[in-house]
């Protein structure tokens, strides 16, 4: 029963990792941008949620109504104001700029919010649980998992069934030709970043309800996001969800053997997959 419990809890944890990773996957898929500041943007979203709940007395989940649009706006401005200027043939420039952004975000948050660990209080939701055949599932992890599935399904639908999705795919396939066809590359990239940060907003608020956070923890969350993206195949959204679940389950099973193996087991699963399928489980078609 302990093993079954470990696997189920690991799946739920995978939902969290997929939420962390969905934004990264989207950004990479559309504009080949590796965003080092992603973890810090998640923490920024958590602080936004905290500020909103504190100022308006809302339930943390209701704060999403404000956090998501705010993060989307930040994303659009960030992309058009800064990141678009760095995107070109050189992969290094955007990498360095997002790295700098990460340092600025961490220290800016430290200056404004101090180093105190903060947490959003979601009341009974945090501790509520449902017994399912001998296993107790927390309501919050289940909600997070379902949200992750919903977000990924929504992004997937948007990608393949809307004009915006078509614009994203076209730009991703060939920027020059998309531009010739009348798509404004700068605007499309801005929208992609806005969408990615909207998802980051959801991840941040859930992170803030789930555990306590301080300005410095963003970087630590980044690696799981990257691993989930790479396991699933770069730029493939369902793959990212599966990558998150594989990571979560291998960590939980590793921890069941010995807690010292928890993170190691996740990294090993990642390396094994990378060795067997260097392009991830579901690589995106290129060309």
């Amino acid at each position: 029963m302990d093993w079954l419990n470990a696997i189920v809890q690991g799946c739920l944890l995978g939902g969290l990792y997929a939420l962390f990773a969905a934004g990264l996957s989207l950004i990479f898929g559309v504009m080949r941008l590796v965003n080092i500041a992603h973890g810090d943007l998640i923490v920024l979203a958590a602080y936004l949620g905290l500020t909103v709940t504190g100022a308006l007395g809302l339930h943390p989940l209701m704060s999403l109504l404000i956090v998501i649009p705010a993060m989307a706006l930040i994303g659009y401005v960030l992309q058009r104001g800064i990141l678009n200027r760095t995107i070109g043939d050189d992969l290094l420039a955007p990498l360095l700029v997002t790295f700098g952004l990460s340092v600025i975000l961490q220290n800016g948050l430290l200056e404004v919010f101090s180093a105190d660990p903060q947490k959003m209080n979601a009341g009974a939701l945090e501790t509520a649980s449902i017994p399912v055949g001998g296993i107790t599932l927390g309501v919050l992890p289940v909600l997070m998992f379902l949200t992750a599935v919903g977000v990924i399904a929504g992004l997937q639908w948007m990608f393949y069934h809307t004009a915006l999705g078509r614009a994203f795919r076209a730009t991703s396939d060939n920027q020059a030709i998309a531009q010739l066809m009348g798509l404004n590359r700068a605007h499309v990239f801005g929208l992609a970043m806005a969408l990615a940060l909207a998802v980051t907003g959801i991840a941040g608020v859930f992170l803030g309800i789930r555990t306590s956070f301080d300005p410095s923890i963003g970087g630590g969350r980044l690696i799981f996001g990257f691993e989930a993206v790479i396991i699933g195949g770069l730029g493939n959204l369902w793959g990212t969800l599966l990558g998150g679940i594989i990571l979560g389950v291998s960590q939980a099973v590793g921890a069941q053997i010995n807690p010292g193996w928890q993170l190691l087991a996740g990294h090993i699963a990642f390396l094994v997959l990378l060795a067997v399928r260097p392009k991830g489980l579901f690589p995106r078609m290129d060309g």
Binding site: G10, A115, K119, S212, S216, A252, Q262, L263
Partner: protein, 427 residues
Amino acid sequence: MGSKLSLLRPNRRAFMAGSASALAMPAILHATRAYAAEPVIRIGHVSPRTGPLAGFAEADDYVLEAINAKFAGGLENNGKRWAVEIISKDSQSNPNRAAEVASELILDDEVDIIVAASTPDTVNPVSDQAEANEVPCITTDCPWQPYFFGRGGVPGQGFASTYHFFWGLEDVIAAFLDLWGKAGVSKTVGGLFPNDADGNAWGDAELGFPKPLAAAGYTLVDPGRYQPLTDDFSAQISAFRDANCEIVTGNMIPPDFATFWAQSAQQGFAPKVVTIGKALLFPSVIESLGARGDGLSSEIWWSPDHPFASSLTGVSARELAEGYAAATGRPWTQPIGFKHALFEVVADVIARTADLEDSQAIIAAIADTQLSTIVGEVNWSKGPINNVTKTPLVAGQWQRNGEAFDLKITANASYPDIPLTGEMKLL
């Protein structure tokens, strides 16, 4: 071959002459300084102002303001007045950076005494730099085992110029056992020890918790070292639940504890006593946990209820803590007392040193310290090991008082002078 040598020789001579005069320079400068109208003694201070450890240093400004006001008129030494200059530098919570700023303080600012506080990541690199440069160094706010053994200290030999005051692992264990003894719950303890310097020391089979707990009749369920910033504690929770643990202990960082504590509730594990080191020190952490913070317990290094007063400014522990709360609008924290005490010791050493020009005389004065500070007695002749002395440690519980949480001292067997302020309640 010959020509190469002849080229080398004059160069080396010139270098030797130059470096000798360079080496002599500080000595010459030192000698002249005492003849100035008012000589200056410089104190270097390293603390983690930014980064993950910033919580430990949040009271720096408040403490230094009071200390600077006190030092403004200078300090008396052998009938002569010395101006005191404190140069404070940020370690950015990074041990490499701490070593770098310590070496800047020593080599560029030419400080006479260097002080540092807050965790092995700050204290150890600063002490190592001071030891290498033979500069007197006083540190605090880090259990003495990671300080002493973490720096490769040899018992009986110790260090030449670096001194430390705080408590040790044996004190935490004694305080926790005292706390649990009063709770009257079954003696099965779940242990959560991370794979970091503190967690490995606490969980160590020889020097950590396992032996004393077994000796006191407790069963310790220790699933193993986990990596800090873990997102899932399901394995530990099911191990504790299977063993019917009524007590949970360990040494965690706040985000890990918050994850564990939320998952415990979600997965139906409800221990009666939860006593965690490090994570539960700060009121801000307890407040962030909301109603789930009520009844958690922790070690207490210093509190407003400690019956001590500052040897420097005369303020009591309560006045210092409440002064901080009034000045900043933030709750008091335990490192405040230790940061203040650090400068109490410095002032005392400056007053007693036979010759402030001579670093050996300063070191001798540090070793001879016998001072009642705001955190208790600092006296290196009474230490558990060379260069280390211990201040009192008790344990207590966070109890809800209206909207705020109070840290009640509920176990004081090791230091009965520190009054109990509450009774242990089960979760």
